[in-house]
């Protein structure tokens, strides 16, 4: 089963489970560009709550916030991270609603946002736009890192047990296109706002998120590296204590992420470790990233560091 199909089925379940949930977006009644809403649009029980809007590049995100203020639990399916950048002004406003209203109003909107290389669309695939979005105060931003976990992550985020602020789940296209193993879990078993450990090793600590998590795991497994692998997952707010503990444990840190190196979230993590873990570090903090944007459609995979690139960096760090 493809990840997209599992996600589509999960979305239909979410709508059946809570009548406050609605799906909003421009092409949601026709399945969206990647098919995530195909199942909800085809199910007569929930289809009335699949609401297509006209093209609203500047205001869709604010509009969704308004529907949440009326008591709904909107799930907005966007075509790309670029759509978030177009609606940034509105996203800022709804992310700050609770603060501006003394906590008396909240806008629990869930945004599902495909990002990164995968569909040969170029454009935002190489931009690493999560670094821009993560700076919006009040927004919760998480990024799916493993195919097996995408459905559980979206389900957990949709409950808003982590707080009723607008929450955005980034869905790397490279993962959406993949096949799902049979062992995929339905429950996340942790807060969607937490980092988690995928491999436990004693010599180096590798921090990754999004499409780089599975690649890094494969590199560590194939080469038998003695490395801890952390899926950062929660990009805003960062799971600071868990990240710092993992960094201190080995003192040798590699940060692996998609998109360009400069001004990205990798720099924020490096600064966090420099601030609060500097006395336990035994090597310079290493960043492994994609190439600089803009990248054309046929070059978009250069927005991701490849396995050889990651392997070379981790081996170098191990020998430091």
């Amino acid at each position: 089963m493809q990840v997209i199909d599992a996600l589509a089925a999960a979305l239909a379940d979410l709508l059946r489970e809570d009548p406050r949930r609605v799906v909003l977006g421009e092409d949601v009644r026709s399945g969206t560009m990647i098919g995530i809403t195909r199942a909800v649009a085809a199910d007569p029980e929930v289809a009335p709550r699949v609401v297509a809007t006209p093209l609203l590049p500047a205001t869709l995100l604010a509009h969704a916030g308004g529907t949440a203020l009326a008591g709904l639990r909107p799930i907005v399916v966007l075509p790309s991270l670029q759509a978030v950048l177009e609606g940034l002004a509105g996203l800022r406003e709804i992310a700050q609603l609770a603060w501006r209203n003394g906590g008396e109003r909240t806008a629990p909107v869930l945004f599902l946002v495909p990002c990164g290389p995968g569909f040969c669309t170029g454009a935002d695939a190489g931009e690493g736009g999560e670094g821009i979005v993560a700076r919006i105060a009040g927004l919760k931003l998480v990024c799916a890192g493993r195919r097996d976990e995408i459905v559980a992550l979206v389900r957990a985020a949709a409950t808003f047990e982590h707080g009723e602020d607008p929450t955005m789940v980034l869905l790397p296209r490279a993962l959406l296109l993949g096949e799902l193993d049979d062992g995929a879990s339905a429950e996340l078993g942790r807060s969607p706002l937490s980092a988690h450990t995928l491999r436990a090793g004693g010599s180096i600590t590798v921090f990754a998120w999004g499409p780089c998590v599975e690649t890094a795991a494969a590199v560590i497994d194939e080469r038998g590296l003695d490395a801890t692998l952390i899926d950062v997952a929660a990009l805003q707010p960062l799971d600071r204590e868990a990240l710092l503990a993992a960094a201190r444990a080995t003192g040798k840190i590699a940060i692996v992420h998609a998109g360009p190196r400069a001004h990205g979230l990798g720099a924020e993590l490096a600064a966090l470790f420099a601030d609060d873990a500097i006395y336990t570090l035994d090597a310079p903090i290493l960043r492994v990233t994609g190439d600089d944007a803009p990248l054309g459609p046929l070059d978009e995979w250069r927005g991701l560091p490849d396995a050889d690139h990651i392997a070379h960096a981790l081996t170098t760090l191990l020998q430091h």
Binding site: V51, A58, T59, I94, R100
Partner: protein, 307 residues
């Protein structure tokens, strides 16, 4: 009386310049003395706030009718999204002067925008930093109420300056396409300050442009509080009956531009009430003294401010 350059063409009135009913037989189904009192209160509030020297404060004197009428027409469950210089809406909706002063001076934990108040207790929404985004949020909330089927409608206030923005046009598009219970109340001026003639705004009718979009609209004279109330009430009734969104364009004259007296909505309604024997100097003095006294005490209590 001959129309002056301050009087808009093609804007509906109930009262003429002297406060006489222009079209006898049109029923006036509101308590005019209560409406008058609310308008005077809004004026007193504006004059008092102007003395506080708040950063970014802009006077709304002369524009009270759409603010107060929106507050009076809105139902208990409806939300109002004000624009800048619309602080009077919250008070007209029943926010106490103490709560108002607290919200104005300390904000909701210091988060209110200058000169604006967030008043969730009376369903008046906080302002937005980004120009016009409150329109998009209001449309979204109207959409939410429609999908929830709870019967509530949503109001948003704006000035004509916002009608050139993308947010305004997207709001019209989604309100029409999704048939939202949204009432937009737009104030426009015949002589907008700072607007260049080449911007295509001078003498233009927002109502006509909105009608071209396919939305129900009415253009009324903001100097006539009764016409303003009737238009907003009609728009709200349509939205409540699920007949779709509406925009009411209210052509106002700001008093800071020193228009003739009949352009002041309070003076026009006063003339009307006076002719009916329902206004007296004492009535006026009592309203003003009450509002000023309560406001002064509230402001002093909230932050020791004095003008």
């Amino acid at each position: 009386m001959e129309p002056t350059p301050w009087d808009p063409e093609g804007a509906a009135v109930v009262l003429d310049a002297q406060g006489r009913v222009a079209q006898p037989g049109v029923p006036i189904a509101i308590d005019l003395r209560a409406y008058y009192k609310a308008l005077v209160s809004a004026r007193c509030l504006d004059l008092r706030l102007a003395k506080l020297g708040l950063p970014m404060f802009a006077s709304c004197s002369g524009e009270e009718a759409p603010l107060v009428a929106t507050a009076l027409v809105a139902g208990e469950l409806d939300w109002i999204y004000p624009s800048v210089r619309d602080a009077a809406v919250a008070v007209a909706r029943g926010l106490s002067y103490e709560e108002f002063a607290h919200a104005l001076i300390s904000g909701c934990d210091g988060t209110a925008l200058p000169g604006r108040v967030a008043a969730p207790s009376v369903r008046v929404a906080a302002g937005t930093d980004a120009l016009g985004v409150h329109l998009a949020i209001a449309a979204g909330q109207a959409h939410g109420h429609k999908l929830a089927g709870d019967g509530a409608i949503t109001f948003a206030l704006l000035g004509e300056g916002l009608t050139t923005t993308g947010v305004f046009h997207e709001t019209l598009a989604v309100a029409i396409a999704c048939d939202l219970p949204l009432v937009l109340v737009c104030r426009s001026q015949l002589w907008p300050q700072g607007a260049p003639a080449e911007a295509g705004v001078l003498g233009d009718s927002v109502g006509e442009r909105v009608r071209a979009h396919g939305m129900w609209e009415r253009r009324v004279d903001g100097a006539d509080p009764i016409a303003v109330h009737q238009a907003i009430a009609a728009a709200a009734a349509r939205a409540r009956d699920r007949r779709g969104p509406a925009l009411v364009e209210v052509v106002v004259s700001q008093l800071i531009h020193d228009p003739p007296a009949h352009r002041d909505p309070i003076e026009r309604l006063r003339r009307h009430l006076d002719a009916q024997g329902q206004w007296s100097a004492t009535f006026q003095d009592v309203i003003e003294a009450e509002v000023r006294g309560r406001l002064d005490r509230a402001l002093a209590g909230a932050g020791g401010l004095s003008a």
